[in-house]
Amino acid sequence: MIFQKYAAPKYFYPLAGKCLPWFAWLCILTLGAGLYLGLFVAPPDYQQGETVRIMFIHVPAAWMSMFIYAVMAGAAAVGMVWKIKLTDTFISAAAPIGASFTLIALLTGSLWGKPMWGTWWVWDARLTSELILLFLYLGFMSLQSAIDDPRRAARAGAILVLVGVINLPVIHYSVEWWNTLHQPASVVRADGPRIHSSILIPLLVMMGAFKLFFVSIVLLRMRSEILENEADSRWLQEQGA
């Protein structure tokens, strides 16, 4: 019941405003801690040397890029089933953040790849999947910006995200089949993580920081989008915003 109440922009807007500073400060703290642990405390890798520190940005960014798309698809499904307008606001607020994380993952990966693999870019399965994910984000964002009517933009965008998320596993496995060079997953494994805790802890702290960053920015963007959409509504004027 309480969730239904906060699905209305009228109640969501002040709630988001109250939560935002908490998330933002937590994000700054964890980001500082994670960067300190990653850049100064964690030992250089015996093979990769100091370049391993790129991983503390690269891996969380890559995780976030996929996480955000999955959350967007979940929100699209929820919005379609229960006709909640707030999910549309969320999706369009989240897409540029997801695209940015994808771009960061690609760029940092390329910076890491040059000293390690000897090239800026290889057509490896994971890199290619990530690039295709970026295309999916860009396609979504250009569809949204091409449609003037906000209702149509939201509904068409929701369909596109859902079609994309159905296709993502197909794309991922077909690309994997096509070519693989990237090292296999080493954190999430059935037999426990395969990296040392001195690396794993800063990685997880950075992961938390990125999540908090995402939540803060999404709340901020949703609030400004609500302001734009509901500029004429009464509750907003009563709040004196």
């Binding site: 068409a156 079609v163 994309g164």
Partner: protein, 228 residues
């Protein structure tokens, strides 16, 4: 009148109307076909005429050209009907819109995908492909081009009547075409190296079935959104 039209006869009538329209505007069928041929013949000019090289790139070249040729023809899938109001009648009709839309998609494949399938052996031979690979090129196009029409219909429905529709459509649809491209070229490359290509063909078939089930339904839903 509407009550005595069965679902199948409605489907057949939509298909017949589409085919008559396509026959009267033969240009729309011929243009993607010529585009397909021209794009493929640009590659030997670009990379050099060595048969070795051409044989290596042929599966990818033919398939990328097929993707682009399909893409080129997609924007007209619903746009004429949007302008003359037929599309609204289609969605208002008592028959389920997804079934009628599937007839439109089928006719799109008959008029753009199928011609590519027929011309492809000729182009494959011109790129010096071995006999097996020529057969598999045709076979994968036969299995794959319907998928292109089906997924493309969703994109065409979503971008209906938007400015910059054509380029936008490419941006939305091309990433979704990647599995088809990988599976189809994988099958051709496997056969030319004397490996079995059953796995790729099966997966392509599976993708076709899934697309055939969901795409007409999602397209008709998208059309409703676009017409709202």
């Amino acid at each position: 009148m509407a009550t005595n039209v069965t679902l199948f006869s409605a489907w057949r009538r939509v298909l017949k109307r589409e085919l008559i329209l396509a026959y009267r505007q033969r240009n729309d069928i011929i243009t993607p076909l010529i585009f397909f041929i021209i794009v493929i013949s640009l590659f030997p000019l670009g990379v050099g005429p060595e048969p070795e090289m051409l044989r290596t790139i042929a599966p990818g070249v033919i398939w990328v050209a097929a993707l682009l040729a399909t893409l080129l023809s997609l924007s007209r899938l619903f746009s004429n009907e949007l302008h003359d109001g037929t599309l609204e009648q289609l969605l208002l009709s008592p028959q389920p819109a997804s079934v009628l839309v599937s007839a439109k998609i089928f006719s799109h494949w008959l008029t753009t995908g199928l011609p590519l399938v027929f011309i492809s052996p000729l182009l494959a031979i011109s790129l010096d492909m071995p006999f097996n690979a020529v057969i598999y090129t045709t076979l994968t196009l036969l299995l794959g081009t319907p998928i292109l029409s089906l997924i493309g219909a969703v994109g065409a429905a979503l971008t209906l009547g938007l400015r910059g529709g054509g380029v936008l459509l490419a941006l939305l649809i091309l990433p979704l075409y990647i599995p088809v491209l990988i599976l189809a070229t994988g099958a051709i490359i496997a056969t030319s190296n004397a490996f079995p290509a059953d796995a790729q063909l099966s997966l392509l078939g599976a993708y076709l079935i899934v697309a055939a089930i969901f795409a007409p339904w999602i397209s008709s839903y998208s059309l409703r959104i676009s017409l709202d």
